[in-house]
Symmetry: C2
Subunit: 298 residues, 2 copies
């Protein structure tokens, strides 16, 4: 009666996609491997979970039963594992803070220093997240708190506080004609290709494409990147332009990339976020206070 949770996750993927082939690509494994996984799960349970057909994979009654219960089970699993890791960090007096490249920028060091004074003996572990995870590890419980840019997907299920606000500028190839101007109207960028965040970030990607401020015109995407360096590279290569916090001009200066103020787009806000479960965690709350105080005095 022992089952690897991975098999259950695979099962769920197949159940959701209704197709081995599609589930296989979603899971980044080959289709035959998934075939074997599913059959292995069925064998271990001694139960048929799907009825196969040319049209795809349809759930049997047993499959439906499992499909209803599996998500909760997996969530419980993840929860337990996270709590275990969390216990280790508490024991080691380590606070894990995720941050998005260019989130708090200059404030970050001051915040950490302030926390160090407030909680001597504790260490802050800063984990930079890729842009493919705009919640900076909070969504999957990898961190105790996160410095990030608002808005971000999953925002509703987490607590957050706004720390800073700054205008959005544009980063463009130095050779770009518009780079000659001291300031650029966003409307002039509507038809430019943009370097964007990965598709799966949804709301976040749209926000940095300023999809709402284009008067309904669809954005053009010239490249997709996940990391600051790839992002700078793509811009320098001329694959596109991108909106960025004004502070990026100081933090991510690079030959071939020019930053210019933009009019006609809303500013961006930096926030500190934490899971509801940490509302009563004195250490996390101390960190939040450090963020608030440090940023208020800037």
């Amino acid at each position: 009666m022992d089952v690897d949770t991975r098999l259950v996750r695979s099962f769920l993927a197949v159940a959701e996609e209704g197709s081995l082939t599609r589930a296989a690509e979603r899971l980044y494994v080959s289709q035959p491997a998934l075939t074997k996984q599913i059959r292995s799960l069925e064998t271990q349970l001694g139960v048929r979970l799907f009825t196969r057909s040319r049209a795809g994979m349809a759930l049997t009654e047993a499959g439906q039963a499992l499909r209803e219960r599996a998500p909760g089970l997996l969530a419980a699993c993840d929860q337990v594992l996270r709590e275990t890791k969390s216990a280790a960090r508490v024991a080691a007096r380590v606070l894990r803070v995720g941050f998005l490249a260019s989130a708090a920028n200059e404030a970050t060091q001051d915040i950490v220093a302030a926390f160090g004074r407030l909680r001597p003996g504790w260490r802050v572990e800063m984990l930079q997240a890729a842009w493919s995870d705009p919640s900076a590890g909070l969504a999957d419980g990898e961190v105790d708190a996160a410095l990030l840019r608002l808005p971000f997907p999953g925002q509703e299920t987490l607590r957050h506080e706004v720390l800073l606000e700054e205008p959005r500028w544009v980063a463009l190839p130095s050779s770009h004609p518009l780079a000659a101007r001291a300031e650029i109207a966003f409307a002039d960028l509507w038809d430019e290709p943009f370097v964007a965040a990965p598709q799966e970030t949804g709301e976040w990607r749209d926000y940095w494409l300023a999809a709402d401020e284009r008067d309904g015109r669809p954005p053009r995407v010239g490249a997709t990147t996940d990391q600051p360096d790839a992002w700078l590279q793509a811009i320098a290569n001329g694959y596109g332009v991108a909106l960025a916090p004004a502070s990026s001009a100081r933090y991510y200066a690079r030959p071939g990339v020019t930053y210019r103020p933009v009019t006609g787009v809303s500013p961006t806000r930096v926030g500190i976020a934490w899971p509801p479960a940490a509302d009563t965690d004195p250490v996390v709350q101390d960190f939040v206070r450090c963020c608030r105080d440090t940023c208020a005095s800037m």
Copy 2:
């Protein structure tokens, strides 16, 4: 974030035993294999779960956290898997009934036949359980209901109804001097070696050794068996005698084994048991009714 539940079970065993070596024998694996499993779990979690020493394995804070949460998690896992299997049986219109060798004996066929009339289209799958599991698969949810002998371990957490009562007889080697008597007083058997159920059945084993009716004298155990055939074999071989339901004389007659009535021991009762969750399951309740009605009219 994917962990095989077997690793968690291994972890729990080590945590409970406080020792790799002892846990390894309990799990029937070699000690190095367990060492690797535990290390693998620690690696996957990125957390130390034990502090090693010559004295054994002591839990770290993270280990304690996991130790508290793991049992519930594993129980939830098992529960989901059982419900999945159960859904398959319902879909196939199969009712699984565990039974203990010599439980309902002649009544069994009548019960199944009655159920077949009450629920046409349904099939009853009878699963014989070994004596090492006196709950006949109910305890681990393998069956929907079970015909068994009362009392049985775990009785409190399950529903049950008494169906029949019959005297306990003794089965002894035909060559045994007492086999010449028509009836035997239990006190005459106090010093005989007994063929007993496995140690781990606790209460059940004691009941069939009639430990309570020996006037405080400890029973002698000449052999331990798990299955009717081994049991008969052991008796025929002269390893010991054993108490048995009177009906065994009809159902388990065998050359070399003689059954005789015994005075001075309480009778044995046959019951039908089901999990509380099945209180509202109409099919299970129909089966219970068939048991009740069939046995009442005998």
